[in-house]
């Protein structure tokens, strides 16, 4: 009898809680939260407690499969890998390397993402590498890099506990980042004033000091409005603005037109509330901004992010304990996947592919000539595929057929692809289209690291063997790299991969598995003798000055009409996770939220003769689904909310694929819809 308690990191949200997997003779029997972990503190959310359930599910993929007509036939690893390489080579020869794209995954480890982008760049020769960050915080990376020079959370999770003011917007924190939400609760119940701005009433807003409900897609308006009040009432940090920021005057001019009255008209937030919120944020010395998809998933997401950053610059609430601008990253390793360079415009460590010296540096490091052409973002890549311009795709664990906007259109893309190879742990809506499907190991079956939302690099440890012949993705990437004839793909362990990653990415320079055995490290960690910095921008910005952005309110890409009078917003709930591949195979989670639903304001419901539990039909210009109605006062009049976890009524059949100009993130949060009784 061998009984193990394996310390590892949760595979769900970006909190990055640590827990022990209880293993008896290679069987997972339970989970024990790690009481010495600074994030979880011996606590977990319901998903964390169930994170072991799907791992040994009978439906796991166990053998490589190759398409033969409509059938998938069992294949050997050699057979499958050779097939992928020969197909890609053929297509590259015919259409050039940029006709191929690789999707990495924010569920995979840093090491794996490092290899996936290396596979695209060094082995295939294209910068067409991207992952689901495109769908969540692409606008954050773009926006905050502009404002501060770095796209990550400026402060750390434990700091929420000591804040005396929280400005939370576009984040249903208690449901989507429960352990961060817990810290916020602690702060609130210890007297901190929380301002929650959201079209829905959330578990957090219910205990918050102020709960404001803006009309979806009007964020820049109310944010600028707050900025104006702060300037008008001289509540801003003049010294900080003068010494640490740029473009204040221009900014001042832009926001001057956002009078409380105008803001109320645009966003529906009462003007006195807006003023109160502005004063509260400006006058608190430990004021933290936290936000998520509600801000980023808009056709003007990047601008909205910048405008939030403006508030911090204006008040100097940055570079100090319990302040800053804090994007709450959705995936367990979306931060790490970006850090590791699974982005079309960045090498590992946010080193631009367009910059000649960076290209040179990596050509030297990898011993291959690299493309200087910025690659295709995931969303654009799929559009091009639909137009037949992108020919081949290798996807590691992505599920665009559920997660991307306007699925009908995404389906076109997959139908048009000449060749599609996927690696995943389960069959998904996307793997249906695969020509080659590879069985991958999940988090509990491999070693590596995740970087959680507050930039902590946390170990993932192998607890049980992968099912059947499944391989960890890093091994798949290595084998593919070798077969493409590229050097530098024979790694024996994730530790070795991390060493190479650290050697090329300064922000990870100090990080190694030996150190992680004893401690949790935070990037930037530039030297082996440094713990890394919890708080960014202390004493100034590495780009010199913080940049005020001149963001103007613009209406969403799609506005309500006679036919589509309601605004549809999408998102997650506490119990399911993203496309449900894992959570829907966990009985306890499924039991809590078993079926697709649409939240509708009780007033609207009454008007439409819809009552709780009715089957309804929700339709937009793109499609139509039939979820169950959940009638509630907790959502603003005229707004609908549908979680996107449910394939049987996929919210993304409805969403608008309109993209943010810079970040190419789709506008998941706003589109025009109608509801009727089904």
């Amino acid at each position: 009898m061998s009984v193990k308690h394996v310390l590892t990191t949760c595979p769900y949200c970006g909190c990055g809680c640590n827990f022990f997997l209880q293993v008896v003779d290679n069987k997972l029997v339970g989970i024990v939260p790690d009481k010495t972990d600074e994030i979880g503190q011996g606590k977990l959310c319901i998903k964390g407690y169930n994170a072991h359930v799907f791992v040994q599910h009978p439906d796991r993929l166990t053998h490589p499969l190759i398409r033969e007509g409509s059938q998938m036939r069992k294949a050997t690893w050699d057979g499958a890998l050779d097939k992928i390489v020969s197909e890609i080579k053929r297509i590259v020869a015919k259409h050039g390397p940029d006709s191929v794209a690789v999707f990495a995954s924010a569920k995979c480890t840093n090491e794996e993402n490092y290899l996936m982008q290396k596979l695209a760049r060094a082995a295939i020769g294209t910068n067409n590498i991207d992952h689901c960050a495109r769908l969540c915080h692409a606008s954050t990376v773009a926006g905050l890099v502009y404002s501060f020079g770095s796209g990550a959370m400026t402060n750390s999770i434990p700091e929420f506990e000591n804040a005396n003011c929280l400005l939370v917007t576009g984040s249903n924190t208690l449901e989507t980042h429960p352990m961060i939400g817990a810290r916020m609760l602690h702060a609130i119940y210890s007297g901190a004033k929380a301002i929650v701005v959201d079209p829905r009433e959330t578990p957090l807003s219910r205990v918050a000091h102020m709960s404001l409900h803006q009309k979806p897609g009007t964020d820049i308006a109310w944010i600028n409005g707050i900025a104006r009040v702060i300037i008008e009432e001289n509540l801003y940090d003049k010294e900080f603005v003068e010494t640490k920021t740029a473009q204040f005057e221009g900014f001042k001019k832009v926001v001057s037109s956002y009078t409380p009255e105008k803001v109320e008209e645009i966003s529906g937030i009462p003007k006195d509330k807006l003023i109160e919120a502005a004063r509260l944020y400006a006058n608190s010395d430990r004021a933290m901004i936290a936000y998520a998809m509600g801000i980023t998933q808009h056709s003007n997401g990047t601008e909205t992010v910048k405008s939030l950053a403006n508030l911090a610059l204006l008040t100097g609430h940055i570079g100090k304990e319990s302040t800053g601008v804090n994007p709450l990253r959705g995936q367990n390793n979306v931060q790490g996947a970006c850090d590791a360079g699974s982005l079309p415009n960045f090498y590992p460590g946010y080193q631009g592919v367009a910059a000649a010296e960076m290209k040179a540096k990596f050509e030297k490091a990898w011993g291959r000539t690299l493309s200087d052409k910025v690659g295709l973002p995931m969303t654009v890549a799929l559009q091009l595929a639909a137009e037949g311009k992108l020919k081949a795709l290798i996807s590691f664990g992505e599920n665009p057929m559920m997660s991307d906007a306007d699925i009908t259109h995404v389906e076109e893309a997959f139908k048009h692809l000449e060749f599609f190879a996927a690696a995943d742990i389960f069959h998904t809506e996307t793997t249906k289209f695969a020509d080659v499907l590879l069985p991958a190991a999940c988090y509990a079956e491999k070693d590596g690291t995740f970087t959680n939302t507050d930039r902590k690099v946390r170990r993932v440890r192998k607890a049980v063997d992968a099912p059947g012949e499944a391989w960890p993705d890093w091994k798949i990437a290595c084998e593919l790299g070798k077969r493409f004839g590229a050097p530098g793909f024979d790694f024996k362990s994730p530790a070795e991969i991390m060493d190479e990653f650290a050697s090329v990415a300064p922000i990870y320079a100090g990080i190694s598995f030996d150190r992680l055995e004893k401690e949790v490290l935070t990037w930037p960690c530039t030297a082996k003798d440094q713990p890394g910095s919890r708080i960014l921008h202390v004493g100034g910005f590495k780009i010199g000055r913080g940049q005020f952005a001149l963001s103007q309110h613009a209406p969403p890409a799609e506005e309500t009409s006679e036919e589509y009078p309601l605004i549809l917003s999408t998102g997650r709930n506490l119990f399911q996770y993203h496309t449900g591949t894992m959570t829907r195979k966990s009985p306890k989670l499924e039991r809590e939220a078993p079926e697709p639903y649409v939240e509708i304001n009780s007033g609207d419901a009454k008007a439409l003769g819809i009552s709780e539990g009715d089957r309804v039909r929700v339709t937009t210009r793109r499609g139509s689904i039939a979820p169950m109605a959940r009638v509630t006062e907790r959502i603003s009049k005229g707004v609908l909310f549908i979680p996107f976890h449910y394939a049987e009524a996929a919210a993304n059949m409805l969403t608008n694929p309109a993209l943010d100009a810079t970040a190419k993130i789709p506008e998941y949060k706003v589109c025009a819809a109608k509801v009727e009784k089904a």
């Binding site: 308690h5 310390l7 003779d25 024990v32 790690d34 977990l44 817990a182 506490l574 009985p587 306890k588």
Partner: protein
């Protein structure tokens, strides 16, 4: 600490690992390592997950007083076989005693640590008892409003053995209002625990929302004592909720409430 001291095949302790403190279920012959007692893991819960997988052999486990009582409740229900368990008594330190407001922190047999005096009362309980019902309700509503339905209080509880079958996950009793789950959730749980809870306080430690669950448990504990003079944690006595009135004062016809 060595196997021979306990003639056991397995040893369940807490030890330092990867810069954390971890529960460790060590088979005979394996390295025992750097054993720690400062972090209060609920080892009985840890054990109860593993136990069904271990068909035979004697298991030595480090137990605090509350763990001992928890074991008795498990023995009583035939969930764990007492003959297979060897208890290594651990006397709690002041820090933990205070955290648990624990009246009785000394195990029947102390092998580790110095026996320390217990804490007489839970300040919050006293405060709540003094309140008017309305104030008390306000207090609890404000607390329970934070509940995020993680089920930590049930999952980490050593005497909560319904496992995946807990009714709190069903829609029958706890209304579907997403989260927080409302008062019924906590009332039902407290009733179910009334004749089992041994006040180890793990539910409170495990609550991300920092709801004073142990305080609630202590109140119900007092109720059971007052009504039936019953205290959970004894291997022999049957729960009063399962016995008839034969020969009890309650048999009096006036017994209505």
């Amino acid at each position: 600490m060595a196997f021979d001291d306990y003639k056991a095949d397995y040893l369940l302790v807490m030890r330092a690992e990867h810069g954390s403190v971890a529960p460790a279920f060590i088979s005979k012959g394996e390295e025992i390592g750097d054993v720690r007692f400062d972090i209060p893991y609920q080892l009985i819960t840890v054990l109860s997950r593993i136990y069904p997988q271990i068909p035979k052999g004697k298991i030595a486990v480090v137990v605090r007083k509350c763990d001992e009582l928890a074991l008795n409740e498990l023995f009583k229900r035939g969930i764990i076989d007492g003959k297979r368990i060897f208890k290594i008594g651990l006397a709690c330190d002041e820090n933990i005693i205070d955290k648990c407001r624990c009246p009785d922190p000394v195990p029947s047999k102390v092998d580790i640590g110095e026996p320390k005096k217990g804490v007489a009362e839970d300040a919050t309980v006293t405060r709540l008892r003094k309140m008017s019902p309305d104030e008390r309700l306000k207090f609890w509503v404000r607390q329970f409003r934070k509940c995020n339905k993680c089920f930590g209080c049930t999952i980490t509880c050593p005497v909560c053995f319904c496992e995946n079958q807990c009714v709190l996950g069903e829609r029958t009793l706890v209304a579907e209002k997403s989260i927080p789950p409302g008062l019924a959730f906590h009332l039902v749980r407290s009733f179910h625990m009334a004749d089992k809870c041994i006040e180890c306080g793990e539910c409170e430690r495990a609550c991300p929302a920092e709801i004073p669950l142990l305080t609630f448990r202590k109140m119900v504990h007092a109720d059971m004592k007052e009504l039936y003079g019953f205290t959970p944690g004894d291997e022999k006595t049957v729960s009063p909720l399962l016995t008839t009135l034969e020969g009890e004062p309650l048999e009096d016809e006036k017994n209505v409430c």
